[in-house]
Amino acid sequence: MDKKKSATPSRREFLKTAGLGVGVAAVAGGVVSADDAEAATLQDEKKTGYRETEHVKKYYDSARM
């Protein structure tokens, strides 16, 4: 059915071995460890230094729900 899937490692396996789990959550989230993924992503709405800067502080996005 899906030749491609059987021929390649699953997406999850691929991502797992790609070296993404290197403690980036700490930087992304500000102060939390890589294990605290939830906390990191919840915080980061406000933590994205991006919006606080001279160069790009004018950017702002918001959900239109």
Binding site: F14, L15, G19, A26
Partner: protein
């Protein structure tokens, strides 16, 4: 907010790592690193993958650079006296000019996805840091529900994959890049991972 939390709880660790990478790149590229960010870079732990090695380089450099030096480097690369060494906008990379059709296409897509920029946003939305922030938001559901992979791919393909790899390559090799060299390499490698992972998922 509850719905965002619920959605995030259902994301696998691997998808969260992707989201964090985008947010990391957004933070690194959207502003000069402050002391907190430089400190956090030193807490990264690279493994023996290609990205892991670039992360280790970044970690070492971050330990040996001051906030002022890092700001000077950011300034030279992205701001400059009249123009920085690099112009990290999608439209510029694809057409040689800011605010051209590639930006219009992004705005249309943002509109479709329910992403708005604030009223006082004077600069174009196709800055690399903004695009990375949007990818992060689309993965974790900051703009509503987390986007399914095919829809994420459509955004990635149309607004990022067609220029960001070249930008990250430029960042790695641009004249003033020291701290930003491994950042460019991390971005370049991450783009490769993303492209391949999307194909596996397709």
């Amino acid at each position: 907010m509850t719905s965002v939390l619920d959605a995030q709880l259902s994301l696998s660790a691997e998808e969260k790592f992707r989201a964090h990478f985008y947010l990391l790149l957004s933070r690194l590229l959207g502003a000069p690193a402050d002391a907190e960010l430089l400190g956090l870079m030193q807490e990264l732990e690279g493994d023996d993958s290609a990205i892991g090695e670039a992360i280790t380089d970044l970690k070492k450099l971050a330990a040996n650079i001051s906030v002022d030096q890092s700001a000077e480097e950011y300034e030279a690369i992205f701001i400059g006296v009249t123009q920085g060494e690099l112009t990290p906008f999608k439209s510029y990379y694809l057409t040689g000019f800011l605010n051209e059709k590639p930006l219009a296409e992004l705005r249309q897509h943002m509109d479709e996805l329910g992403i708005e920029k604030s009223e006082d946003a004077a600069e174009p939305e196709d800055h690399i840091a903004f695009l990375c922030e949007m990818m992060h938001g689309l993965i974790v559901g900051s703009f509503g529900k987390p986007l399914a992979l095919p829809e994420q791919y459509r955004f990635f393909e149309n607004h990022i994959a067609n220029w960001a790899p070249k930008f990250f390559e430029d960042l790695e090799t641009t004249e003033s890049a020291r701290l930003y060299a491994p950042i460019g390499r991390i971005g370049k490698l991450f783009m490769e991972v993303e492209s391949e992972a999307f194909l596996i998922a397709a």
